[in-house]
Every structure is written in C-alpha cells, then in structure tokens.
C-alpha cells in the first residue's frame, strides 16, 4: 500500500465548474430580479452539467486504468456517506419547518397556549391542518388536499419496489451475473421514471383542480418544498442509475469493484427513505 495513493496532477474541471456554477447563479438571480438573463442561466447550467460529466469521466477512466487502490475506495465511501448525511440534514430543515408550523405556529395563531397575543392578529382564525383557510383572507388556501391512498400510495409502492429491484440488481452484480443485474437495473430506472411521471400528474392536479399552489399559504409552501426537492432528487437519482446502466452494459464493473454502482444504490435508498417520511407526514398524518 505504500506510495500507491493516487493524487491527480492537475485538473481544469474544478475551476471551470466553479465558473459555470457562478454563471448559473448570476443568471438565475438576473431572471428572478430583473426578468431577463435566461440564456446566461441556461449556459451556466449547461456548463455545470458538462463539467460534471467530464469530471466523472476522468474518474471512471482513472478507476478503470487501475490507478485507485483500496484506500482510495475508502475515501470515496467516506465521501459519499458524508455527502448523503448532508442531504439528510437538508431535508431535516424542511421537515423541521413542517413540524414547527404544525405543532407550534398554527396552534399559537389559533390562540392556544401562552402565546396568547399572537391570536389577536387574526381573531377569527381557528387552527387546523391541513390549513385550508390561512389566517389572512388575502391568501387563499387549497380547496382540498390529496387523499394519501391514491397517487401517493401508488408512488410509495413504486419507490419501495424500486429499492428492492435495485438490491436484486446489486446482488446479481456481486455474483457476477451481469445480464441479470442489467435487467433489474433497467427495471429500477423504469420505476423511477414512473414515479416522476406520476409526481408530474399530481402537480398538474394540484394546480388545476385542488388549489394547492406555492401561493396557497403554508400548506402549499411546505407541500411543494418537500415534494419538490424530493422530486429533484429522484430525477438526479434516475439519471445516475441510467449512467450505471450504460456502465453495466460496457462491462465497467466487476463483482468485487463497483463502488460507483454501490454509491448510486446508497443514494437511491436515501431518496426512498425520504419519500417514506414524506408519505407519512405530508400525505397521511
């Protein structure tokens, strides 16, 4: 193990990546503040995606040419593990906001507990959840909310199944059954795509028939920030799994060495667990 740790000489991706991200952020700010700059934002986004693709390609090439050793593998494992922990904390902020609003803010607005004066702001307001009529009448709440036992339940079953199919694919890879792995992984990707489509349908329904919008008070806000960021993670996870599918077909992985695949599994399971939390606390309870 002596002297074997691979330290890449130089790379242009980090500095180009930060420039691209900066461009994207400036473009986004311009769009939001001044209502123009879409092209700058999209250029930045394209830059970020390109840099990521080329950077990961470098890593794949280095890995396949045998530059990495067991210690490097552990670095990737720690790195991915802590990255997922950071994602957990990101969602924790939104769940925390949801719990705070439901447990404290809304009951207090309704006059409960020692925060009496808060109730004087809108004396007519009665606390309830889902919050269909926000305290101030200038903000109209949702007309109704989704039943958890229709589309959300279907999506729950889809995501849990996808975790199972992915595990089957992983086990097949570990046993060297590349074709079986490929088929189950393809199935997982398909389930991911189904989830995204159904979530899209639900968003359409939310705006078209349920009155659940971003502007619909705190219910709409928490609903969209939680399901929205989760949805983005499913899209990213599906893209990652598609890349893994291509790499499986190109015979990149061996039964022993396939951390790229395993990291994708970790990520997918994490996204799955977040959904279970969403299903319980956004839809059911």
């Amino acid at each position: 193990m002596s002297g074997s740790y691979y330290v890449p000489a130089t790379s242009k991706w980090p500095v180009l990546g930060s420039l691209a991200l900066g461009t994207m952020m400036i473009g986004t700010g311009m769009v939001l503040v001044h209502g123009r700059g879409t092209i700058i934002m999209l250029l930045g986004l394209a830059g970020v995606v390109t840099v990521m693709a080329l950077w990961f390609r470098d890593v794949v090439v280095e890995s396949r040419s045998g530059l990495y050793d067991a210690q490097m593998d552990r670095s990737f494992r720690w790195g991915m593990g802590w990255f997922i922990f950071s994602e957990v904390m990101f969602f924790a902020a939104f769940f925390g906001a949801l719990f705070y609003v439901r447990m404290f803010a809304i009951p207090w607005l309704g006059g409960e507990g020692t925060k009496g004066p808060t109730a004087l702001l809108w004396p007519e307001f009665t606390a309830h959840w889902p919050l269909l009529s926000p305290p101030d009448t200038s903000i109209s709440g949702p007309q109704q909310v989704f039943s958890p036992w229709h589309l959300p339940l279907v999506n729950t079953l889809i995501l849990i199944s996808s975790s199972i199919t992915l595990t089957v694919a992983h086990e097949a890879l570990k046993e060297g059954n590349r074709k079986i792995c490929r088929n189950w992984l393809a199935g997982t990707v398909l389930l991911g795509l189904c989830f995204i489509v159904i979530q899209g349908v639900e968003y359409y329904e939310a705006y078209a028939h349920y009155g659940i919008t971003l502007e619909a008070g705190i219910y709409g806000a928490t609903f969209f920030i939680l399901t929205g960021f989760h949805g983005v993670h499913v899209i990213v996870g599906t893209l990652i799994l598609i890349v893994m599918l291509v790499r499986i077909m190109r015979r990149h992985f061996s039964p022993e060495e396939h951390f790229g695949f395993e990291a994708s599994c970790w990520y997918w399971h994490f996204v799955d667990v977040v959904w279970v939390g969403l299903f319980l606390f956004v839809y059911v309870f």
Binding site: M1, G3, S4, Y5, V7, P8, A9, T10, S11, K12, W13, P14, V15, S18, L19, L21, G22, M25, T28, G29, L32, V33, W55, L67, Q71, R74, S75, W78, G79, W82, F85, S86, M89, F90, A92, A93, F94, G96, A97, Y100, V101, A105, I106, L109, K115, T118, L131, P134, P135, D136, I139, L214, E215, G217, I218, Y219, G220, A221, T222, I225
Partner: protein
C-alpha cells in the same frame, strides 16, 4: 506563504516515490496563474485559502472601520443610515463566511495531511473546487453593494421579514452567493473528514492525532450537519421573495420566528465551527512553548465532542426575547450553561499545561496566551447572556457585540494568527521577524481591548447595536472603541509585512522549528515543507510520555 518549489528530495520519501510508479511521477506543474487555478496540491490550496481569507479580512475590516468612524461621535457624520446598515451586515457576513472560516480551512489544508502523515487530501480535485467556489461566491456577494437598492442591510443574521418582505432587490443575489459558499463549505468539510478518517499514517490511532486534527474532525462534522440547514433556510427565503410562499409570513400560516429557529439551529453550531479549530491550534502551541506535554489530552478530545453535541441544543438562547414558552426558555438556559463545563475543562487544561512549565514568549505563544485570557472573558460574558432573565436586558445591546467579538477576534482570529506564526517556519523555511511580530502582537492586543472592552459598559448602559446614532451618554465609550478599532485595524498591516518578509527571507528554520515539545509529524519534514510530502506513509512512532 507560497511553498518553495521544486521539492528537495527528502529522507525516506524520495527513494520510494521513484519506485511508486503508477504513472503519477510528477509532471512539471503548470507555471504562473494556471498553476494556482489547476492545482490539486493541499499546500498550494491551503495557501490560496489563507491569502483569500487575508484579503477578505481586510475588506471586512474596512467595513468595520466605516462603522466605527460613524460611531466616533454621536450624530450622523459620514454615512447615511441605509449605508451604515449595509456596512454592519457585510462586515459580519464577510468576516464569518469569507475570513474566519476559509482561514481555518486553509490551515486544515496545509497542516492536516502533514500532521497525520498523508500524501495529500483524500479528494484533491474536490479540494480545489471547494476553494475556487469562494472567490465566485464572495465576488457576487460584494457586487450586491453596487446594485440598485444597495446590498444586504438586515444584519448578518438576515432575520425575516427584514430579509424577505422588506429586503432590497439584491437579496436574491445574496442568497445565491451564500448557496455557493455553502456548497464550498460542505465539500471542503467532507474532504477533511474523509482525509482524517482514511489517510492517517499506519499506526496512528484516533487518540494519537494532534488536537488540531481532532478539533477539525469535529468541526467538519458540524459543518456537514448544519450548512445544509442554512441552505434550506435561505431557499425558503428565496421562495418567499420570488414565488409567493408563506414560510415566514404569518398571514399565510407561516411564522417569522420559524426563520430564527432554523437560522440559529445552523448559527449556533456555526459559532463553534469558528472556535473549535482555534482550540486545536492553541493546544499545539501552549505545550511547545511551556516545554511540557499537553495536560489532559483525552479530556480535551471528549470536551470538544461534548461542546459540539451541546451546540445542537442551545440555539434558543439567541431568541429569549422573541417569545418562547417558559419551558423552552428554561431548557435553553440550562443547556447553554452546561457548555461552560467542557469549555472550562479546556481552559483549566491549558493552565495546567503552563503550570511549572519552562515558558518562553515567542510570537505564537504570545497570541496563544492572549487567546486563553481574552477568550475566557468572552466565555464569561456568554454565561451572563445565557441567563434568560438577564438576557432580556442585554439582548441587542453592545454587550452582545462585546461578547461575540471577544470570542471571535482575540478568540478565533488570534488563534489563526498564532497558528500562522507557529507554522510559518514550516511553510517558508524562515522564522517570522521577532521584533515586528511583537509590535504586531502588542498593538493588536491593546487595540482589541480598547475596542471591545468599553462595549460591555455601553451595552450594559443600554446602547442598542446596529444603530448609527446614539445618546450623548455613550459618547466617551464609543470614542475609545473607535480609536481602538483603528489602532487594531492598521496594526494588521504589520501582520502582512511579517508574512511577506518571512516568505522572502529571515532566520533559517530547521525541520523541528520550535524544539522538542512541538513534535507532531509536520515537524519531521524539512522546512520549508517540500511540495510533496509523505508520498510513502511514514511509520508513526508514538511519542514516549
């Protein structure tokens, strides 16, 4: 501060490095600007972080001097209140996110691989990405000052609805800049944690690690845990501002207080992010110049971990006056006071290390000793603030300003400077200029106390923070503070001079530059440290106690 290249062949590394093969025999690094843009070397990236932080320290310092200039006398003299608000806000943001945090990350980059016997950081390219996000982020943040409506003017804590409903249009850019800085911090922290957990020299157990490494491991954990929460809360702000959501708007069922809970859930651990690595630096310096082993190594580790864990359950002490159920106030009050226990363990350990030591007063030691005394003053005023009923009086007065500047300036920043003086011989091969360093120290320590000590009194007498004008009764205290601030600010030019002189020449330093009791692994490589060190992991020998 740039490391000297090309590397001199060294001890045991050189022979094996040649055999190591794998095609990563070092190609000639790119020259000039490209070398710094493309580098993956932890020492070069560390230097970049430190230089960036120093530049930002001066920019944030100029903002502070604008504030102190206006407060030199009662009445409005130099700037209008709107600009004054932007200055207090930007001073805080730049100092916290662009000066103190990158300085510690820079020290971590330079020293952690050297202290644990690693060839580099675990993920060198990611390391470079983390750095280059910073100029992009803070370039964008500073540019908001020139945007229509001005830059952020709601204080560095950017409470909603000041930062949402009543914010200037540039706030969206402020949020996006902070997102970039957050990504940088998270990736940097992941890298440091992975390095510490995975790259230690064979034979080095966790409890063999130098305390700077330990404190950074725990700091890294805190960063990974709370920077995403900051990202979450500023995303909610972005939504409230641009997409009509009601997170912090009670009219829609949200709550502005929710912002404060989320912000301080990030903000309190953030405070320890800025002080734990300082503890590590001081714990390296005091034994070196007291010529004694550190007293209570294990208790230092456990105390650091205890402080970190407690930091997740005390955020409410920033919010006593916002209106909180009594049981919440009691919980946050007692939990906050509990932090004094592990912190006290640390202070007593440093004092016990000094006890019966053979003490000498080189520049790093001067700063470290000042740290122990002055940080403790900040700790005590923190205890006063922790008492909820007392805090009702102190809240939002200059007493709070005095408190957190005592822990951040003679606390975090003195520790950073102590670290720089301590490790400059390793970086440059030269000792810092003794007489100039002493001038820097004494002017700084006098300036800091002149600036911040009177703030205790003006605060207790009721002077509110973040207001450009004040009642006549506060005039004397403010004049003293302003004189002290300019004295402290301009003496930092001496620091720049010391660093530049040290890079260019000076008394030559041997590998073990500070004697027998500074014997962590970094002192086993030559001074200046060659560009690549420990390409073959050294065999770690536990020092005999």
């Amino acid at each position: 501060m740039a490391p000297k290249v090309p590397p001199q062949p060294t001890l045991e590394q050189s022979s094996n490095a040649a055999e190591a093969g794998h095609g990563h025999a070092h190609e000639a690094p790119p020259k000039g600007l490209m070398r710094w843009l493309l580098t993956t070397n932890h020492k070069e990236i560390g230097s970049l972080y430190l230089i960036f932080s120093l530049v930002m320290f001066f920019i944030g310092g100029i903002f502070a001097l604008v504030v102190r200039l206006e407060l030199f006398q009662p009445g409005l003299q130099f700037v209008n209140p709107e600009f004054f608000n932007q200055m207090t806000t930007m001073h805080g943001l730049i100092m916290v996110f662009a000066a103190v945090m990158p300085a510690f990350t820079g020290l971590a980059n330079w020293m952690i691989p050297l202290q644990i016997g690693a060839p580099d950081m675990a993920l060198p390219r990611l390391n470079n990405f983390s750095f280059w996000l910073l100029p992009v982020s803070f370039g964008l943040l500073l540019s908001t000052l020139f945007m229509p409506g001005g830059g952020p003017n709601f204080g560095w804590t950017f409470y909603a609805p000041l930062s949402t409903t009543f914010a200037p249009p540039s706030t969206t850019f402020f949020i996006l800049a902070l997102h970039i800085a957050g990504i940088s911090s998270i990736l940097g922290a992941i890298n440091i944690v992975a390095t510490i957990l995975n790259m230690r020299a064979p034979g080095m157990r966790m409890m063999d690690m130098p305390l700077f490494v330990w404190t950074w491991l725990i700091t890294g954990f805190l960063l990974i845990a709370v920077m995403p929460v900051l990202a979450g809360v500023i995303t909610m702000m972005l939504m409230d501002i641009n997409f009509g959501t009601s997170f912090f708007n009670a009219a829609g069922g949200g709550d502005p207080v929710l912002f404060q809970h989320l912000f301080w859930f990030f903000g309190h651990p953030e405070v320890y992010i800025m002080i734990l690595p300082a503890f590590g630096i001081v714990s390296a310096i005091i034994p070196a110049f007291a010529r004694k082993r550190l007293f209570g190594y294990a208790s230092m580790v456990y105390a650091t971990a205890a402080i970190a864990l407690l930091s997740f359950m005390v955020w409410g002490h920033h919010m006593f006056v916002v209106g909180m159920p009594l049981v919440g106030q009691l919980f946050f009050m007692y939990a906050t006071m509990l932090i004094a226990v592990p912190t006290g363990v640390k202070v007593f350990n440093w004092i016990a290390t000094l006890f019966h030591g053979s003490i000498s007063f080189e520049p790093p030691m001067l700063f470290a000793l000042a740290f122990v005394v002055l940080f403790t003053i900040g700790g005590f005023s923190g205890l006063m603030l922790a008492i909820a009923p007392a805090d009702f009086q102190y809240h939002d007065t200059y007493f709070v300003v005095a408190h957190f500047h005592y822990v951040l300036v003679p606390g975090a920043i003195f520790a950073i400077m102590a670290g720089v003086y301590f490790w400059l011989p390793k970086w440059t091969g030269h000792y810092p200029h003794e007489r100039l360093s002493q001038w820097h120290f004494w002017l700084s320590v006098i300036g800091v106390n002149l600036t911040f000590f009177p703030m205790h009194f003006s605060g207790l007498a009721g002077m509110p923070r973040r207001i450009p004008d004040y009642a006549l009764q506060f005039a004397d205290f403010n004049m003293v503070s302003s004189i002290g601030a300019f004295m402290f600010g301009f003496s930092q030019l001496l620091f720049v001079a010391v660093v530049i002189i040290c890079v260019r020449g000076g008394k030559k330093a041997p590998a073990a530059a500070w004697g027998d009791y500074a014997d962590d692994l970094e002192w086993s490589v030559p001074s200046p440290a060659p560009l690549h060190t420990f390409e073959t992991p050294p065999n770690y020998q536990r020092p005999a106690h």
